[in-house]
């Protein structure tokens, strides 16, 4: 137990973040509830509508399909993820290769919209590699979305479980090896019980991810039969764009309820973390107690690699093909005359979008680091806000951005910022700031208290002690939090779709703020789009993710440690 003293200087560290959350998260949650009782007139004014929006639920012919689809995602994606992630995590730990770990992580760190486009290009029955072995139309049913969801979330689930396996104490590993436990039985009797908090966290995170699937549905909408794969998140976005604001608010309220339940599970999984042991002993003893042969591990690994790297590999090959070969039937796999022409095109045509994404990413990075790092320090070191504030941060961490969509649009509309960089810079921290705080919090929790104490004794108050001594001596972690912040901004899709409508005008004052993610996601389906240029744009959009993974390479598993919180 430590003594907690919150003086005004400590409060000043966390105050900006607190104020931000009040304005941009607490208000929108309330504002959305108000919207459910309103409707938009033809002139665009909002008038009271009583409970008519709620009654619309009963007459909506699509709502049953939409809810069914949402449930399909929620049930299938997490289960498939876990079934695939546990063996993969175990194999990755066994072979202990940092390069392979990083490669396998790529799908979860790249923009989801890029992922969806990459799949779409790879599975094109005429121009994609599937021409040779599976020449069918893949985008006819919901399962294609499930596959894309799994592809995007499997690496993260694997990483969280891998982190759990890596945190098994060395003595336990040694004891089980002295006791002769190996292979499957060791996995069941030692690994699973010890990493059960991580497995639970991975389950809940993938559940949240799947429940609010958006990007793949958005990208593939043109190909799919109508409503095939539409879930609540995408449906509410459609309603919003159709101008049916009140009904969209009702759908969002339903999602808020759903996400609150999921967030509760998430917070519990993250903050409890006492491994459960005995149950697995009996089940585990039924498994063979021998190490899997090396060749089998190798074969399994190749299958995983094929699945996880296939779409990225294809867009990489596609992006360097000369234009004449891009629409060749049968498709050219490996071009003998590589060109960078598509990259030049991507940069020239995508430039306004690229500038917007960079400007917004930089702005969000500054805000989230300047607000997040001091708040995290005040929480971790001085106990600011106690467990309540920590729970609130985790709660926000797990909420999908879409539930803040409507009131934030209203705010930005009211202050005339729609379709400007500022709308995005001010609103992205809703989902970026909790992540930055969480990363910094986890680091500062183990940061030696004496640096700050020495600074206080040397005459600095807790506020200036943070900015003069703590921040400069924790730059490596702040850099990771900053990169992470940039990465989330970079891949964001819903907020820019809602808050912008045209690309940057390339003059001053800047106007128009459509992002690179829109450039990638919204161009597919247009007849004019060139696959080569699209593939090149996708590769460009991977750069921040690769950079982040590279910087985190030595602490990747430590970032996802779970449990053991003193609160």
């Amino acid at each position: 137990m430590t003594s907690v003293r919150i003086d005004r200087w400590t409060a000043a560290l966390a105050l900006p973040a607190l104020v931000y959350f009040l304005v941009f998260t607490v208000y929108p949650i309330i504002g959305n509830i108000i919207l459910t009782f309103q409707r938009e007139t033809q002139s665009g004014a909002l008038v009271w509508a009583g409970i008519s929006n709620y009654l619309d639920l009963t007459t909506d012919p699509f709502i049953g399909k939409v809810i069914t689809n949402t449930l399909i995602y929620m049930i299938t994606v997490p289960l498939i993820d876990l079934a695939l992630a546990m063996p993969l995590a175990s194999i990755l730990k066994r072979i202990d290769s940092k390069v392979l770990l990083l490669l396998f992580m790529i799908p979860s760190f790249i923009p989801f919209v890029t992922a969806a486009v990459a799949w779409e290009l790879s599975l094109n029955p005429f121009y994609g590699p599937v021409y040779y072995f599976a020449r069918i139309n893949w985008f006819t049913n919901i399962w294609m979305i499930v596959i894309m969801d799994v592809w995007e979330s499997l690496p993260l689930a694997t990483l969280i479980i891998y982190a759990g396996l890596k945190s098994i104490p060395k003595e336990v590993e040694e004891a089980s090896s002295v006791d002769g436990l190996v292979g499957m039985r060791k996995f069941m009797q030692v690994d699973i019980p010890y990493s059960s908090p991580n497995i639970l966290t991975a389950l809940v995170l993938t559940l949240i991810f799947a429940a609010f699937t958006f990007d793949p549905i958005f990208v593939t909408e043109g190909q799919m039969p109508p409503m095939t794969a539409v879930d609540l998140a995408y449906y509410s976005y459609q309603q919003f764009f159709g101008g049916i604001i009140g009904y969209a608010a009702v759908l969002i309220l339903i999602m808020s309820g759903l996400s609150t339940v999921l967030a509760y599970l998430f917070v519990r999984a993250m903050l409890s973390g006492e491994p459960r042991r005995s149950r697995w002993q009996r089940i585990g003893s039924k498994f063979p107690n021998r190490s899997s042969p090396r060749w089998m591990v190798g074969v399994v690994l190749v299958i995983y690699a094929a699945f996880l790297l296939f779409p990225i590999g294809w867009i990489l090959l596609e992006s360097i093909k000369p234009s004449a070969q891009v629409f060749n039937i049968p498709p050219v796999i490996l071009t003998l005359t590589p060109t960078l022409q598509h990259y030049v095109n991507a940069f020239t045509q995508g430039l306004p979008y690229l500038i917007s994404s960079l400007a917004v990413g930089a702005g969000v990075l500054l805000i989230t680091v300047l607000l997040g790092a001091p708040a995290a320090y005040a929480m971790a070191r001085h106990g600011f806000g106690g467990r309540t504030f920590l729970t609130f941060i985790l709660f926000l961490y797990s909420l999908p951005a879409i539930i803040f969509m409507l009131p934030i649009y209203q705010i930005m509309n009211a202050i005339g910022l729609v379709n400007t960089w500022w709308a995005l810079i001010l609103s992205y921290p809703v989902f970026v700031l909790p992540v930055v705080i969480w990363i910094c919090y986890n680091f500062y929790r183990n940061f030696p208290a004496h640096v700050d104490e020495a600074a206080q004794v040397d005459g600095m108050n807790t506020f200036s002690a943070f900015f003069r001594m703590i921040l400069p001596s924790s730059l490596d972690v702040v850099a990771i939090a900053a990169l992470y912040s940039f990465l989330i901004s970079w891949g964001a899709l819903i907020f820019p779709l809602v808050l912008t409508y045209s690309p940057f005008n390339m003059t001053f004052p800047p106007f128009g703020a459509q992002t690179f993610s829109i450039f990638i996601g919204a161009t597919l389906g247009h007849e004019s789009v060139h696959y080569g240029q699209l593939a090149a744009s996708c590769i460009v959009s991977l750069i921040p993710a690769i950079a982040l993974l590279y910087f985190m390479r030595n602490r990747l598993d430590k970032m996802y440690r779970v449990g053991g919180f003193k609160g």
Binding site: M1, T2, S3, R5, D7, P448, H450, V451, E453, A454, A455, Q456, V457, D458, G459, M460, N461, S464, M469, P472, S473, L475
Partner: protein
């Protein structure tokens, strides 16, 4: 002499546990004070409430005539050397030492002058451009000391300053600390759990146990005239024997001698011998108890040998472990 640092009725709790309870404690200016106690005695907490890093729950702390109880650390003008030195990892030695001065906003030239002066006093002039990780433990400690004294604090707090040094360096540094204190005329509070370290350098020692002050006094007073059985046992080694009137007889190994015969003596059997060079420590079984006696004679002893022990000086403690003062002898001692 008026007190420079005063604690009155200070209480500090962590949750429901009271970790510090000091009714009255005074320290004089320009003295070297050592706070001694086992771990969990509250000595580090005493240091931290002095620095302001912990806030007391009750009571008052007066420093140089001012009530500093509610003051945060940054406005107390205190120097503190942390147990692990707590140097700023991203600053070089010069910048580390200069931090307290830059915070005060002194002009650059004056900062340089003061840092160089203190570096000269502490012999770290050559290290000024190095980074903390390039320094040895002893060097880091000097840098931490320099940082603590460069701002000319009212009081210098040392938290277990010798615990991270090896045994040989420890003896060297402790006399260095004392001479530094003499040279600067500063008031020092030095926390340790090592009683020989405390005895060697303290002007005044404070023996603490369970969050309370057991005794304060010069090393001689504390050693020769411990107020409680705890102090007697913690400072120096002691033997304890029950007496007929349900009191405890306590004496130090050097206050007993082995004799061939005497009237009023205790009888025992030698069970072990520790040869020390100058003298020998004899383990002697007396009844159910085993006592240690410092034998300075050249007589040949054997294990298993029966012998007589004469007590030259004895302290008597009552059942509640406080000393019973004998009005006839100043030290509260008497032959049995």
């Amino acid at each position: 002499m008026s007190s420079f640092l005063t604690f009155s009725n200070v209480v500090k709790r962590f949750g429901k546990t009271t970790v510090l309870q000091v009714e009255r404690l005074d320290f004089q200016k320009s003295t070297y004070n050592v706070i001694l106690g086992p771990s969990g005695a509250g000595k580090t907490t005493l240091l931290r409430v002095t620095a302001g890093l912990e806030r007391v729950d009750e009571g008052k702390i007066l420093l140089d005539g001012e009530d500093v109880t509610a003051r945060p650390p940054w406005s107390r003008n205190i120097g503190l050397v942390f147990q692990n030195y707590a140097l700023y990892p991203h600053l070089n030695v010069f910048d580390n030492v200069a931090v307290p001065l830059t915070v005060k906003g002194l002009p650059r030239a004056e900062i340089e002058r003061k840092v160089e002066e203190v570096a000269r006093i502490l012999g770290i002039g050559e290290l000024l451009s190095k980074h903390p990780r390039q320094l040895s433990g002893g060097q880091q400690q000097r840098v931490a000391l320099a940082r603590a004294i460069v701002k000319e604090p009212k009081i210098l707090l040392l938290d277990e300053p010798l615990s991270n040094l090896d045994a040989k360096l420890r003896v060297e540094v402790r006399s260095y600390l004392k001479s530094l204190q003499r040279k600067l005329g500063i008031t020092v509070l030095h926390v340790t759990h090592d009683q020989s370290e405390a005895m060697a350098i303290a002007d005044e020692m404070v023996v603490m146990n369970n969050g309370r002050v057991e005794q304060k006094g010069s090393p001689q007073e504390v050693y020769r005239s411990p107020r409680t059985l705890f102090v007697a046992g913690f400072v120096g080694s002691t033997n304890t024997l029950p007496s007929k009137d349900s009191q405890l007889l306590v004496f130090r190994p050097e206050d007993a001698e082995v004799v061939d015969t005497c009237d009023d003596c205790i009888k025992g059997t030698i069970t072990a011998m520790e040869y020390q060079g100058v003298n020998t420590i004899l383990h002697i079984k007396v009844g159910d108890a085993t006592i240690k006696v410092l034998d300075q004679s050249d007589m040949e002893r054997k294990e298993g040998q029966e012998t007589w022990i004469r007590l030259k000086r004895v302290m008597r403690f009552s059942r509640d472990e406080t000393i019973i003062r004998d009005p006839e002898t100043a030290w509260g001692t008497k032959s049995p």
